[in-house]
Amino acid sequence: MDDVAPCHIVVAEISVFDYLRARFGPRFARASLVPSDSGLPQRFRGRPAIAQPQADVATEGGTPVGEAAPEHSHRNLPVIDLGRSVFAPEETERLKGPTAFTQDYRMATSSRNALLTSGGEIELAHALDRKMRRLLGRSLRFRLVAAGSCGGCEAELAALGNVVFDMARFGIQFVASPRHADGIVIAGAVSENMRDALERTYEAVPDPRIVVAVGACAISGGVFAGSERVLGGVPPSIPVDLWVPGCPPHPLTVLDGLLRLLGRVDHLSKTVPRGARDDTSATPP
């Protein structure tokens, strides 16, 4: 018994009851997926949108989000490409429009074009077809391929597994082998040195397979777009089902996108989170 004495001291300090209290106490709450309740700080830079609430924006709440494609928009506003944005504070200045970052973290889309916006509204990702969802059942397994990334997106994807975001509660998991996966998640601008490994990993996933591009680099090359050493994002040979912008995207942005893909969040949800429109404090002082 003497051997384990130090352990007993610890157990006396942190008992099973302390664990349980900590586990179920308010401080151990999982992240809320309700945008107005997500606890994101005021300076968080989410989806960029028009800074001043305008009359036509307020009424647009009644029509399905994203119905008017940006090209058809009559507003004379610069087109923002969320797929190129690294959500740097100075980007709103460069756009020279009345835009600012909102606190809305929901930005994942089903197509590359849906990431282009002039007013800030985007058509969020829609669910996979019924057949595909039936095939997946209640689980979705991914193999991550980091290809010419900085490691930031991987860190956020790893955070999805922690007790706060707890992605596994929705049946979504990262697995060790592409052979065990339903699809791949790609992060990074796809370096020349990873191109072959990426293509082979993709081929190793049994068909039908899902591809998720996470982060500005995977979508457009991000800050590495001009470099000769990268392809500038996922190559066209690999069709992408979900585009998640951000640098890196907040774990909630990724989770929201995946849940939309699975049809577990209503894609027609057009509620704009409280405080997202009128909060413009994200610009630097």
Partner: protein, 503 residues
């Protein structure tokens, strides 16, 4: 070595390129060898095209005891006698020079590719032979029962790509060779681009978990070349952000070390507390990794008084919550037995090879840029250097825990006494033909950004050295004699950056 073979420079103080001694290759090699033998350490050794047919080799050495840096140069042709025959620390740098500049160090003991890319800093008139990026001659151990294990580049976990090649006898590892370069994005070339606004975004993406460290070093170099003086308030906010980054990563590492010895309780708690540190950074900067905070001339976001009190409250609560979890980990005998004696790096190995950061401090080599080459807020507020003796997984874990405690105290101290003033000043044009070395103690260790300008004030060379560049070979050195099943634990205790190495 003659006394004037090295020009003394200080952290973030510029020198004129014309003042740097220009030695003959033989003298250059002798200077490196004798300096390293007398306690200096190579911070960086890199090539800059001098004209169309010649390459300038530039060495930056550090004397950690006296807090001075030294620099010296030599002009070489496409072939030159290898420096690493007389100075082992130069070995990895010469592999880098061979790859980036196309120069061939004759007699180099192991001239393998480092990142596997075509040269991008070679003198324009040199004939360069294209290399096959898959051609990497691995060391082979011969023996009847010796087997090879190849891992990567796509690994089992959510981590970056790299290839590990083990030679093992049963469970025992005989050798480990690491092939990197999969994350190579051409960072240095992008940093040398004309747009400072885009370069700073690239600096933020050198290593995604060291955003503050790399951007501070980048800005430190640019500010020195522009003679821009940050306000004390900006320096303090940078210091707070750097320590928050250290907290997040060290606490996260303690969590992953817990899960690698299958101790899920502390892994879960540390995982949540790591998130809290990232959220503190997000409260200040709007991004969980502190992107957008640091820019040449200061910081973009101030900490207003209401936020100060909120941050103090949250850091105090963090301090209260993290201690019992650390005790849970470190006082658990089954954890101790798994951490103890695994993956040992000796002080001797560390000195010879030039390891830095947590790896050096955990084998009683007390290197810490914040202490040895104090800059910014660290000139006024010293953080004690945390060291351990055993050089194993346990030592690397306990050093992290000591640093966590000290960083929390530092943050609380600084928040209580934030200097008044602006946070951003103008950062103008760079001075021509100068060289600056900006060192920063990132959470992994010494980050170096070395910038040289040309006569037209453009950036002629921007050299980045991530601590991982020095320390990857420490992982190879620590593995022989250990069980192959201990590799994940050992690897996690170093937690080196693939992106930071590959650039």
């Amino acid at each position: 070595m003659s006394a004037d073979a090295l020009l003394t420079v200080y952290n973030r103080r510029c020198v004129s390129v014309a003042d740097i001694p220009l030695l003959e290759v033989a003298e250059f090699a002798a200077t490196l060898a004798s300096s390293v033998a007398s306690g200096w350490r190579i911070v960086s050794l890199f090539g800059v095209p001098e004209d169309t047919r010649a390459l300038r080799l530039c060495a930056v050495l550090a004397n950690d005891d006296s807090g001075v840096l030294g620099t010296t140069c030599a002009i070489v042709g496409q072939e030159y006698p290898a420096l690493s025959t007389s100075c082992r620390q130069a070995g990895r740098f010469e592999r880098e020079i061979a790859e980036q500049c196309g120069a061939i160090p004759k007699g180099h003991p192991s001239l393998k590719p480092l990142r596997r890319h075509p040269p991008d800093h070679a003198p324009s008139a040199w004939a360069l032979r294209p290399k096959d990026r898959e051609d990497f001659p691995f060391d082979v151990v011969h023996g009847d029962e010796v087997h090879e294990v190849a891992v990567g580049p796509v690994h089992a976990g959510i981590i970056e790509p790299g290839h590990f090649r083990f030679n093992a006898h049963g469970e025992e590892v005989l050798s480990l060779e690491i092939m990197l370069g999969y994350q190579h994005r051409g960072v240095e070339r992008l940093l040398e681009g004309p747009e400072r606004g885009t370069a700073v975004l690239v600096a933020e993406s050198i290593a995604g978990d060291t955003v503050i460290g790399h951007t501070s070093a980048f800005c430190g170099a640019i500010e020195a070349l522009a003679r821009s003086h940050k306000t004390p308030r900006a320096q303090t906010i940078r210091g707070i952000a750097l320590e928050l980054e250290r907290l997040a990563n060290h606490i996260g590492d303690l969590g992953t070390l817990s899960s690698d010895v299958a101790y899920q309780s502390s892994a879960a708690f540390f995982g949540r507390l790591r998130g809290e540190c990232l959220n503190l950074l997000m409260t200040i900067s709007g991004n969980r990794y502190g992107r957008g905070l640091i820019r040449p001339g200061g910081v973009l976001f101030d900490i207003p008084p209401t936020m100060t009190s909120e941050l103090v409250r949250r850091v105090e609560r963090l301090r209260e919550e993290v201690r019992p979890v650390a005790e849970l980990l470190f006082e658990n005998p089954s954890v101790q037995s798994r951490f103890d004696g695994v993956g040992v790096v000796s002080a001797e190995q560390c000195r010879v090879a030039g390891y830095v950061g947590v790896v050096a401090r955990s084998c009683r080599v007390p290197l810490d840029v914040r202490h040895d080459f104090a800059y910014g807020v660290y000139r006024y507020a010293q953080i004690p250097v945390a060291t351990a003796w055993s050089g194993d997984v346990y030592a690397r874990a306990i050093v992290r825990w000591l640093e966590v405690q000290r960083s929390m105290e530092f943050i609380l101290e600084q928040l209580a006494a934030l200097p008044r003033g602006e946070v951003l000043v103008d950062c103008g044009a760079l001075r021509p033909s100068e060289l600056v070395v900006a060192l920063e103690e990132g959470w992994r260790g010494e980050i170096a950004h070395i910038v040289m300008t040309d006569a037209a004030s453009h950036i002629r060379r921007h050299k980045v050295v991530d601590p991982s560049f020095h320390n990857w070979s420490a992982l190879s050195a620590a593995m022989p004699g250990n069980q192959i099943s201990d590799f994940p634990l050992c690897n996690k205790s170093f937690n080196l950056s693939y992106a930071g190495h590959d650039l």
